[in-house]
Point group: D2
Chain length 396, copies 4
């Protein structure tokens, strides 16, 4: 697979490092940047044969199989359009659009053009996420009741994130897009997100957009998704997921506590990514590229292109994420639950809320079984008709 | 200090164990229970000189200095009334009332009677909480922006919790009262809670009340409090707090991950409190009574009585908690932010929301300072008038 | 219980804080220091009625029930002698002696005088230790095979520790005494320690004694105790125990990872004990006095005096610890295993090494049962006579 | 790179999974097994074009670039010989030999044949190890004083490990080879290992070899390496490293605590590798192949072949590891430190033990600088001539 890169900034370099990390058969061959000097530097750094500040030129070259978009959010749509016209498969950095209508147009473009639109949602490809998703699908924690994803750090590296016009929003668009898709994946992508309640505020930075946000997403099956995002967090990059199921629990820590702990008096310089210091207790990640999902993500994307199948994360998923975020912004403004508006929902239509209460006998529901330290065994029961709660001692 | 106990159930035993744990000069001397057999058993177990099923008799005995209420929520008010009439100091289990009006009447009773009304909010007395609160007061993490407290477990031991009439609610009244007061303490008890947004649902159990709830509490200074409670959690008792400040972060794990890890094939029987099993990986707490705050709580309460000062947690605090929970229930019903209604607010009146943006120079705010791995140093700035975001490279 | 304190330094203050921490009925009433100014200051700080630089005067006062020795190691023996003469119960800071002969003389003195000699081994009283010891005694992890205790920090606060004459040794005498007794307690105090192999070195500090040491202690039942100590550790105080049993595992972290994590940019000053910094990630302990065992230790000691029973840690235990450390120093010098020389061993005499191999059938031992991810079930067997190892597939 | 696999068991499958995990340009093409049925099954499972039970046939085929040895330890030498004769690069599973003389012969063979001999020491390629090694080389923790590596689990899957003749030893040869090389790498591969002290015992299993062992390895620069291995551990696979340096500390947990925690009531079946159960708290690893170092290991090996450079781990390293293990076994038998006997040492010859003590002034060494909670600042000094230890208060 021959790959062209659009963009040459922080994330483009991350992708390039990932593509060149092991002995892969896929190759980055060209780069576009609005700034020709940066394009040149990037091409030199990664030994690419072609660079240009003319996007169409880069996209259209016949040796290019797939295009990776690593541009600011406001440039995604035009880049996707260029790929669609050129008939090149396209992989787009998150979030897909600044809002759902942009995302929907991009989705329509790739589907009309018959190309693959891969949504580069790396955090849905981390080794921990993939394994926990499989566990959930295997039934290890029962039905998912609540899925929380949290991403917080001291704010993005590049200036354009802080400019509402280019980014389309603040921490919610930047980080929330990850969290929304992670929770949605755990709950089940075929379950429809119904409505969103959200708090958002500009707590610290002199910007127009929110630098903190918390949201709740109600799903059709009664499960609740939760996102917590902030650009005000101190201490590194906080990247955690928690899932509660009827039969179990999952806790993931993707970055700050992964079994790697180092104390340094500060001699020796740079240690860990996104740490705020080089001294004291530090918590590096072993292989950041792999831990953040880039390796598995590109493998899935290129396999899907080769096998003409769908990757795990498509433009349709990117669109759903934007739709949920739109509802979150609406709720932050209105102060009430706001509906998630989706054109062309592709999942389950039948919204069954009914909880399946466990019966103890014909007349009673079982509320809880208790085993106390003193060996006492008791059942807490509720009469199905009268609603009266009683205790039944079953100690042998 | 001579102590009378009202109630003889799970929590009464916890209190009694705490009062007798070390070589304390304060003594439990009598007990009341609605069930005379239980009163007798309790008196025997703790070597008490007097027991009765007549509450007034227990409260009024002249050798009693202070009364501890360990009764179901619906019996708190009558018990406080009995103490007020007898002129005995009273310490009441959380939550103070089933709702704010009950709590307000109890607050009024003790204040009119001139007795001390101590609110037994043990989780505001855990060693970790006390030390982190001091750190925050010392300025170690700057201004608190967000304080989250989470309590979740597989549901309470006693039947009456599951009966809405006796308890006044579900997981929110039972566990949320802790979380609300913890977050409020971190943010500052003199800062007024303004409004609440809450999701609550009955996800698993056949009961009338909620078995899961998540709420956001907006404070007058722009900080946000968050509670997460559930009776559906699997894996033990999840008791965690997180605080984000402008200058730092605090993460507390009070129960499931405290540096005590045990694997057992299951030989040997009972190991850890509230664990759901005796085999596999288990996470006991060293000294549950101390770690859950009981020791410090009673020390503070009895010192306050002796010194005629206020304890850290009073009936007034209990009332505020109930007022916040009332707003949470209202929001869960209405689907929008609901105001916290407080009669006789005793904290700060001046609600200053203004964030203090950091200036870089006369014309610019400083958004962020970046030090990249490659040694690059840059500033992200925003023009105060035009709002334009720019980057300034300051690498030496 | 009325308590006299001998010594006014770091550890004396720790003890005093512990004795006054909660509402205890026992009271510190007097203090001795070689330096009268320090004695006076200590008496003022803790509101004591009497202070002196004459040890005998302090010990002999009739209102004193029990004496606590908080003096440098080389002064323990004389202090014990003074208590023995005065017939006062005595509690002595660890290590009991600088070596086993000093310790043995102290043991003999208290036994001859008929007073209680309590050995203040606080780390055998931490809440985590007590609960894990109980678990082991309950059989939760089977027979203990290996017990490791580790204590390491950047070196002691007071000067006399660094002076071999006063201390009797380096990190091994200072920290190893804890580790030896912890491992011994897990393995079983009635099991005889047989021989010791030890490495010790002066790796960093300009001192005569060792600043790092690692030792292995063989017990009569085949179990192995291990200590790891250092005054060269960077990052705080590393205080961890690990136990392997035939049916389970215990891991304790007593100080640096106890579920309390704080990040601070450094505003606000002092945060955590023994941390090497006030900024970056910090790991405070909730209640240091309780977590380090002081509370439970004094409770046990005073109860033992009142009830005329033995406390958990006696001068005899202190003597055994010194005997093991003596063997460790001998081994560090000789480069080979050295016997533990004990006069008047009070534990089990019958040293049964025999492992109890599990038989699969008449002819075979069972080495291991395997359940592979693919569902395969197999047994690894060894023929009792020929010794041939075979595999038996038992997958249903 | 075209790869032939010798062996078709547990480790061969692990390697094959690794080689096929992402979109690599290197390909496994053939397999040898002593059992033709297993060879066939393996070839089918991994879609290989050739299989045989004739080792030479597999090794000699002209399309083979490199051979991977995944056979029991007693078959390594013959396999290396076959590769040397055929002039094929060879990568050999750990340990290289059952003892140092076997390993030395293999080293000589590949060097004489002019082929690359890669030592498949995967745990020296884990992402955490590589990053921590780089940190140490960058000076982040100063000079390494102590490096401990621990591997313990309930025993190997395959029968031949338990047979001394085939394996050459027990847990020390099986797991200790990893630990020895990890510690040696941290301390510095050019630093000569001098002597070893070791305890080994058969604590639980009915076997001839040791099922537990602890060893100390003295290095020429005064650093100490430590290994702890066991086949008696309960609770999964314990894989931890700890390093103490003059300026810092590193703690790695490679398997059991990596930020992935799951509780399951047991519904849903198989969850985590090497866990002893499918219910309760489980600690899976995200991507076992990557976390255990296989990915980076093969990348390094194949790059080295292509670039005609040395990989990080060569047969020479394997030989040194065997030499250290031989000394460990000798010490376990003799009860004293035993020299490490190395033919043709390739590292530093100059063994400088001298510690560099820090001077405070012309007359004094600085032992320690203290900052106490009360703000007191003091220095502990030692007179260079008299050795007297003094305190100097430098509080401003």
């Amino acid at each position: 697979m021959n790959i062209a890169m659009l963009g040459s900034g922080f994330i483009a370099r991350f992708y390039a490092d990932s593509l060149q990390a092991q002995r892969a058969k896929d190759k980055l061959i060209s780069v576009y940047s609005r700034n020709i000097e940066k394009a040149k530097k990037f091409a030199e750094d990664y030994s690419l044969g072609f660079f240009s500040d003319d996007m169409d030129k880069v996209v259209r070259r016949p040796d290019v199989d797939v295009v990776v978009i690593s541009l600011p959010n406001n440039l995604h749509e035009a880049a996707v359009e260029a790929c669609a016209k050129a008939g090149k498969h396209v992989l787009c950095t998150k979030p897909l659009g600044r809002n759902a209508s942009e995302a929907k147009r991009m989705l329509d473009m790739v589907e009309k053009a018959g190309i693959m639109g891969g949504y580069l949602e790396d955090l849905c490809y981390t080794p921990k996420f993939l394994k926990s998703l499989k566990s959930i699908q295997d039934g290890n924690i029962g039905k998912v009741l609540w899925a929380k994803s949290r991403e917080a750090h001291p704010g993005p590296h590049s200036d354009w994130f802080w400019d509402h016009e280019q980014s389309g929003g603040g921490a919610m668009v930047d980080l929330g897009c990850h969290c929304v898709e992670i929770a949605r994946s755990y709950i089940g992508k075929r379950i429809r997100p119904i409505e969103v309640m959200c708090w958002a505020a500009t707590q610290v930075h002199p910007i127009k957009a929110e630098d903190s946000g918390i949201g709740l997403v109600k799903y059709a099956n009664g499960a609740i998704g939760q996102f917590e995002v902030s650009w005000c967090f101190r201490g590194g990059m906080d990247l955690r997921d928690e899932v509660m199921g009827t039969e179990g629990t999952i806790w993931l820590n993707n970055f700050l506590r992964t079994g790697f702990e180092m104390f340094s008096t500060g001699k020796g310089g740079y240690v860990a990514e996104k740490a705020e210091s080089n001294s004291g207790w530090l918590f590096p990640v072993g292989d950041e590229i792999h831990e953040l999902g880039y390796t598995n993500m590109f493998t899935d994307m290129f396999n899907a292109i080769e096998n003409k199948t769908e990757p795990m994360e498509t433009f349709y998923d990117g669109y759903i994420v934007n739709a949920i975020l739109d509802a979150a912004y609406a709720s932050a403004a209105s102060g009430k639950w706001e509906p998630v508006q989706i054109e062309g929902w592709r999942g389950e239509k039948n919204d069954d809320h009914s909880a399946n209460f466990v019966s103890y006998d014909v007349d009673h529901y079982l509320i809880k079984k208790e085993i106390l330290p003193n060996g006492e065994n008791k059942l807490i029961l509720k009469h199905k008709v009268s609603g009266v709660v009683t205790v039944k001692n079953i100690t042998e």
